[in-house]
């Protein structure tokens, strides 16, 4: 995939398919240590130890529509091709956590890309989920969570077209602040 934000969207779709209703995305862009770390954690149904061993094999998948699951193997390859690594831990009925680490300056590292697009696509899911987002660029941080936003919106859905418009503008503004001194 052309952007790391597309891998993130894909991994979160797995969480949603696994019936998670709390999803944590943590991104750390550490210029000093030349690392980009992406963590995605959920409270979905998790995987058994046996399945976990096989999850990075493209010929394993839980889906019934098609028999090849490519999402995680692609994400894992993207990290490993950039002098990084890919870890996945999971507990049955508790949840799953993915950690992808990249060498920040690696020539093959895809840009993070359109995180606003990814976050909005996640929040338009047909399932009821809460997203907890934490993004650090060097020493600057941006955090938000949908519980807080939903509280303000009351009975208005976050997928409401006007709420989406607000969310886009809110995210764009905060990412701009986050990247004021560089980064991709």
């Amino acid at each position: 995939m052309r952007e790391l934000s597309l891998h993130i969207l894909d991994a979160v779709q797995n969480s949603i398919e696994a019936d998670a209703n709390r999803i944590y995305i943590k991104i750390k862009e550490d210029f000093g240590r030349d690392k980009l770390i992406i963590e995605i954690e959920d409270n979905g149904k998790g995987m058994t130890t046996e399945f976990l061993k096989e999850v990075l094999d493209p010929f394993k998948t839980t889906r019934k529509t098609r028999h090849v699951g490519l999402g995680l193997p692609l994400f894992s390859a993207a990290a490993e091709n950039c002098n990084g690594d890919f870890k996945i831990t999971s507990k049955k009925d508790k949840g799953t956590k993915i950690t992808a680490t990249f060498q920040y300056s690696h020539i093959d590292r895809a840009p993070l890309g359109d995180m606003v697009g990814t976050i909005v696509a996640i929040l338009c899911s047909d399932k009821e989920i809460d997203l907890f987002y934490h993004h650090q660029v060097d020493n600057k941080k941006f955090e938000f969570n949908t519980q807080k936003l939903k509280k303000i919106l009351g009975n208005i859905s976050l997928a409401n077209i006007n709420a989406i418009k607000w969310l886009k503008s809110y995210l764009k503004y905060n990412f701009k602040k986050l990247y004021k001194n560089g980064g991709v």
């Binding site: 529509t65 047909d126 807080k148 009975n155 709420a163 809110y170």
Partner: protein, 126 residues
Amino acid sequence: MGVFRLPKIKSLEELRKLREEAIKSIRVRESTSTKITVGMGTCGIAAGAREVMHAILDELEKRKIDANVITVGCIGLCAEEPLVTIERGGQPGITYGKISIKKVTKLIEEHLIKGNIIDEWVISRG
């Protein structure tokens, strides 16, 4: 169509204001039961579904059309991604395949504004 003017908004306080405004138009929204579903499995994402979804949101906003845009996982027609299903007013959904950003304007104009189904793009009905 129950669309209200929106100021430049960055703060949570502005979200509160938006809510007040949205409540005023919510009855109109509930009565419009147009639902647009975009497939967001690995297959869809790799084929550009996220960008197509945003093009749809932009087009709806530009034309002041009220509709709910929803993402779903893979439905098993991976070779036809990006997939977009349009359901209107309780009628059976029409699923279009291989919808690119370039096709979005025509799709919204024909299906939602003129009420014409674009037969050559349809891959399943109902």
